[in-house]
């Protein structure tokens, strides 16, 4: 695999795991809640083995999602995406500093040092490259501030 291919693969993994997969779960949850009525939701057969505390959290979250109007839902969507991007940015900055100073967490790729791929970064940093990767590989648009 060429360095360029490795570069793209790394970007796809980071975008998927730090952003898209998580945001997709959230979107699925909220869209489900908005797709049925409260009555329909509570008539749905319950799993008797499911932990009661989990069930209570789900029910309260359903009620909350249902209560949101479109404007509020849009703001919540942005907030969730912003949190994901900021988590990604912060963790990648920590990795960047660890990579340079060799005193914090670092990243390996395919069991090897990341340097070869790192040298391909147009921004020169993990967190800077995140902006390019989400433009190329994310289903959910640009970095959310």
């Amino acid at each position: 695999m060429s360095v360029k291919e490795n570069y793209n693969k790394l970007g796809k993994i980071l975008v998927k795991k730090l952003r898209d997969e998580n945001y997709s779960n959230y979107i699925e949850n909220i869209n489900n809640a908005k797709s049925i009525t409260r009555e329909e939701y509570y008539k749905t057969p319950r799993n008797p083995n499911y932990d009661k505390e989990f069930q209570k959290i789900e029910d309260e979250r359903f009620d909350f999602f249902c209560s949101l109007n479109d404007k509020q839902k849009e703001q919540l969507d942005k907030l969730i995406l912003k949190m994901l991007d900021e988590v990604a940015f912060n963790i990648l900055r920590e990795i960047e500093e660890g990579h340079i100073m060799e005193d914090s967490i670092s990243l390996t790729y395919n069991g090897k040092n990341i340097d070869e791929v790192y040298n391909e970064f147009l921004s020169g940093t993990f967190f800077g490259e995140y902006f390019l990767w989400i433009e190329s590989f994310s289903k959910y648009g640009k970095f959310q501030y």
Partner: protein, 761 residues
């Protein structure tokens, strides 16, 4: 007393050595007398008899001594001879028996590493050993003689057969009435063109003396061949014969000289181990001078008399039916060209073009394939289809082959590998033929174009064959009087002049002309392709998205110290090293995926050349004046809020001048570069760093789209704007950028190699 006599004995031995050659009998006798005089007084010189070579039996004559592995062996043999004479005079039979059984036999056993039941067995073993060694040495000369005779004989045999085959072929043509238009009319037999032999009488006049000469040579070569084989493996019979002769020689002596001969032979064989014939000899021992039996003449005579192979059919002095039949069989299996298949194709399809026939001769496997297909078609679908198939599919290849031979002939290419490359790479060969035709004026190829084509073929051939990677160990010519930064380039394979040394052939002396000839046919693509091939072979990874013409613009191929190297075109190296750039950095500039290549070309004036690139490098360079001027223009708008700032290694966080802008600059150290801690940034607004980074991405990308060169002042402007847009007060942002600029000056950074987030600058 003892020491005095020991010294006298040593002086005597030394004198024997000095007089070893060219002594007259009188001198020898005098020496013997002196020796006698010294040792005769046995009663007085009892001390000598206790030395190591003196018998412990109480006798007064010393034992034989042998010089193992020593060049003084002949002196030892002489000294032993003197001891024996003394013993013989006094009839010391006990001494004799002791020498024979307790000195000579053990000496033979020691020399041969083997025990023997009695003296006779030991003696024969020594004789056999001696003669095997003689055979080994003395068979070299006759073996070489007969190797030459049989080799030249076989060569002449082949040559004569080809001539006879041509005459036979011509005979058939005359018999069927094909007097003119002979298939091989251009071939000569003993000075006469085949086309000029038009009747059978003329043909016979050529045939008869040639056939006689062939017979005579074949018979003598037959004998030489078998004599050679016999000399190469003389066998046990020869060993027995030499043993017999040696015993005859031995048995001529009385029993005292037989013993003398044995001590002589042991020492003589030691001498022979250390020298080559003719061996040194002491005249006193002249009676043993002809003791070597396996001489060169004996070996040759023995091989002649005992060779295998019997008589050659051609031994007879007159032609017989058997000779004629044998010659016919030989001619049936003799080809006019290099194979019978090529002969068949030539005659069957009437290939008259000389170059096409040469191509068939030099491309045996292809012709054999053509022959097999033709033969199969004749057998299965008839002659008409075979002709159709030939004209449609085989003839074009043979005609192209003929044109390639024509090119080889015109360019005077003699190198086997170069010819093979042309034969194998017909597309490239066709292009070169076209090039040659296009560059002819009045039917003549220009000298420049000729050199270019020849060197093209030479390079292609070298790259297609075996070679070694070496380096010249020299400094590139351009750097001979400059550039102390050269030391940074120790891992740069181009600057270190790594190159290719062909194993089979040398690089032609005019190879460098190739460089200047590139413009002859506008062959940038060819040049770039081969620059890439050489670079790859020496171990450089050349990105695939670098266009060959860009490589050709900046590099050239040349010969230096017998190596084919790639070097920078004049002007590039000084500029590169001035800015601390390496070949990999230049690759980045040329690589499309890194934002270089066509984008760079457009930015620097539409064409990548050394001049444009070096001018561009000057444009994106940084120096103290540029930094000072920029700082002066900004400082009135700045506020130096430096709490939580410092070197990156201490405070981490944000580089106010994006570090990727200087990624290929050797002097930039991002760990020491000015930075602002995250804590300080968060004091302005939590999470602001991500916003600043996003703004950098947006602003640099927008700038890059304009196709401009990123200079220091434009970079400072973008960086201040990125921070301001994220919420940093402008005066503080300006102060941080100024601190970063001053840091660049301290570090000695020289160039903005990249536009952050957007590839090379």
């Amino acid at each position: 007393m003892k020491n005095i006599y020991k010294k006298l004995l040593l002086i005597l031995l030394l004198q024997f050595t000095l007089n070893m050659f060219g002594q007259e009998d009188g001198d020898v006798e005098q020496q013997v007398e002196q020796d006698e005089f010294i040792t005769v007084a046995n009663g007085d010189f009892g001390d000598i008899l206790t030395s190591t070579n003196v018998s412990s039996c109480g006798c007064e004559v010393p034992d034989f001594t042998f010089a193992w592995g020593s060049s003084s062996a002949l002196n030892m043999a002489f000294a032993n001879d003197q001891f024996l004479k003394r013993a013989k005079e006094r009839a010391l039979n006990t001494w004799y028996d002791r020498q024979k059984n307790e000195i000579v036999k053990p000496a033979i056993e020691s020399k041969l590493g083997k025990q023997f039941a009695n003296f006779e067995e030991a003696k024969n073993a020594l004789f056999e050993f001696s003669e095997l060694k003689n055979t080994e040495v003395n068979s070299i000369s006759p073996k070489s003689k007969y190797a030459t005779l049989r080799s030249s004989g076989f060569g002449k045999q082949r040559s004569d057969l080809k001539k006879l085959k041509l005459l036979k072929h011509r005979e058939n043509e005359i018999l069927i009435g094909r007097i003119n238009n002979s298939s091989y009319g251009d071939r000569k037999v003993d000075g006469t063109y085949l086309k000029d032999i038009k009747d059978l009488a003329t043909l016979r006049n050529k045939w008869t003396p040639l056939a006689n000469e062939f017979a005579k040579n074949t018979a003598s070569t037959h004998a030489s061949n078998y004599i050679y084989q016999k000399i190469s493996s003389l066998g046990q019979g020869f060993t027995s014969e030499t043993l017999r002769l040696k015993n005859n020689f031995y048995n001529k002596f009385d029993h005292w000289d037989k013993l003398n001969f044995m001590q002589f032979l042991i020492n003589y064989e030691e001498l022979k181990k250390l020298s080559r014939p003719p061996y040194a000899f002491n005249p006193v021992l002249a009676k043993f001078i002809n003791s070597d039996m396996a001489t060169s003449s004996l070996i040759e005579d023995y091989a002649i008399k005992n060779r295998g192979g019997g008589n050659s059919i051609f031994d007879s002095n007159h032609w017989t039916t058997l000779m004629k039949d044998t010659l016919d069989d030989l001619l049936d299996n003799t080809s006019i060209g290099t194979s019978l298949e090529a002969d068949f194709m030539t005659v069957y399809f009437n290939v008259l073009d000389v170059n096409q026939r040469i191509w068939m001769d030099e491309n045996q496997n292809k012709v054999k394939g053509m022959h097999a297909v033709t033969f199969a078609h004749i057998m299965s679908r008839g002659q008409a289809f075979a002709y159709f198939f030939y004209n449609e599919y085989l003839k074009p290849d043979i005609e192209l082959g003929g044109r390639i031979v024509g090119l080889i002939d015109e360019l005077k290419i003699y190198d086997y590998h170069q010819k093979q490359w042309l034969y194998k790479n017909t597309t490239e060969a066709t292009n070169l033929i076209q090039f040659v035709n296009d560059n002819k004026v009045g039917g003549n190829l220009s000298a420049e174009a000729k050199v270019f084509v020849k060197q093209t073929i030479a390079l292609e051939s070298i790259l297609s064959n075996q070679f070694e990677i070496k380096k010249t160990g020299k400094i590139p010519s351009e750097l001979s009087s400059c550039c102390p930064d050269y030391v940074y380039s120790e891992n740069d394979l181009i600057i270190q002049e790594y190159g290719i040394e062909p194993i089979q052939a040398a690089v032609d002396g005019v190879f460098n002309v190739l460089v200047s000839s590139a413009s002859v046919i506008g062959s940038e693509e060819w040049m770039g392709r081969n620059i890439r091939r050489v670079m790859t072979q020496i171990g450089l990874t050349v990105p695939v998205d670098i266009d060959n013409k860009y490589l050709a613009a900046l590099y050239k191929i040349r010969k230096r110290d017998g190596l084919i190297i790639v070097e920078y075109r004049t002007g590039m190296l000084k500029s590169m090293l001035d800015f601390g750039l390496s070949t990999f950095d230049i690759f980045a500039f040329l690589s499309l995926s890194k934002g270089g290549g066509p984008v760079l070309a457009a930015k620097i004036g539409g064409r990548i050349t050394v001049t444009n690139i070096t001018a561009h490098l000057r444009k994106i360079s940084i120096d103290n004046t540029k930094i000072t001027n920029l700082v002066n223009s900004l400082k009135n708008k700045a506020k130096f809020d430096l709490l939580g700032t410092g070197e990156f290694k201490n405070v981490r966080g944000h580089h106010p001048l994006a570090k990727s802008a200087f990624r290929s600059d050797k002097f930039y150290d991002l760990k020491k570069a000015f930075s602002i801690s995250i804590k300080r940034l968060d004091e302005i607004k939590v999470g602001i760093h991500a916003k600043i980074t996003g703004q950098q991405n947006s602003l640099y990308s927008a700038f890059s789209k304009k196709g401009e060169v990123l200079t220091l002042d434009k970079m400072a402007k973008i960086e201040i704007q990125a921070m301001v847009n994220a919420g940093v007060p402008k005066d503080i942002a300006t102060g941080w950028v100024i601190k970063s600029l001053e840091d660049l000056k301290i570090q000695g950074v020289k160039i903005i190699t990249h536009i952050p987030w957007n590839g090379v600058n």
